[in-house]
Symmetry: C2
Subunit: 208 residues, 2 copies
């Protein structure tokens, strides 16, 4: 590779620094291996409130959050939003069902804060596995952890009251509790915003 091209590439690589660090911590990727991956990555900056995926569209990428925070949510028949998941730094987010089967997405994805994300193609797992064996297993572990987390959340929902769910939330995601608007937390734990406000009042949470 010529010098100029290499410099240009290194600029791009720097844009992916968070992702690079992340991958290294999981896969021990060499510089060269990472460079192989670069052509498949595109990056994007999202303003607060910007929509990345709208329910009904087909999800075309897996998103990796380098900075900021996204959330996925559904809008029900009465127009109410329900937050499925938050994705802060170093998280993946996609409507996997839509991504895999090319069906309309069930949920939307928006930026909670100004965010810096990477967009990766649907078959990133296979691509990465080819470049660095072990990737598939990595995603397997991620998926499984994800599932365990969701299972816990479901159990929580079946057995705990609203205030217990809130306490569990701030315990499980202490940093998120400070970053994301309260009404989104409410829609995540499944209570009305007013109810969450009351709960916080009872518990005696001091404000930001």
């Amino acid at each position: 590779m010529k010098g100029a091209a290499k410099r240009l590439l290194s600029i791009f690589v720097d844009m992916f620094e968070v992702f690079k660090l992340y991958l290294n911590s999981k896969l021990r990727l060499s510089e060269k291996q990472f460079e192989e991956l670069v052509p498949f990555i595109s990056s994007k900056t999202l303003a607060r409130g910007e929509i990345l995926l709208r329910a009904g569209e087909v999800c075309r990428h897996t998103t990796f959050v380098q900075q900021g925070c996204l959330r996925s949510f559904v809008t029900d028949l009465k127009g109410k939003e329900h937050t499925i998941n938050f994705a802060p730094e170093n998280w993946w987010l996609a409507d996997q069902n839509s991504l895999r089967y090319k069906v309309p997405a069930m949920f939307s994805i928006e930026a909670v804060e100004e965010s810096d994300v990477l967009l990766l193609p649907a078959d990133i797992i296979d691509i990465l596995e080819r470049i660095a064996p072990g990737a598939m297993q990595m995603f397997g572990v991620l998926n499984q952890n994800n599932m365990i987390a969701m299972q816990k959340r479901l159990i929580n929902h079946l057995s705990a009251t609203a205030d217990e769910r809130y306490l569990d939330f701030i315990e499980t995601y202490p940093s998120l509790a400070l970053r994301v608007p309260q009404k989104m937390i409410a829609s995540f734990i499944g209570v009305a915003p007013e109810s969450l406000s009351r709960i916080r009042g009872q518990i005696g949470v001091r404000r930001g």
Copy 2:
């Protein structure tokens, strides 16, 4: 292999017929490949109500249900049971968290009906992948589908009322609705048994 031993083996293999059919539909396993797998499998028959795994114990196997139906459930502080999942024929069931990390299981597993199950070691994925490449991907897909299902359930829980959840249940698992006791369905969709009874009354579900 001598004739007697071969006959003996074939008896065992027959015990695994459901599993064999299942694997063939997913992986196109040859007879020989399947025989390699046999030494790792043990089978068990469970009576109705029999506990296969008790919360707090470490989960040692992945279970494959050949016949009957299992369920996983948690018991909360007030002694109430909450059904996490049902596993009828051709389903896998395990506390994956406990299985993977050797930590105490969060939930219990019991037989809803008399059931015929196979017990497979925790590293069955790797074993199977070695015998028949593609196994890891197969489990990946399973896990993902599982996750999608759980996500739908969570969404349902956040946005639907009790009767809507029940209707969704009998629509999604029509056969289960007839097989499993009503109170377990109640504990699955997250309502009190009495409430489910009332809901059924309102809707006008005929019995049996």
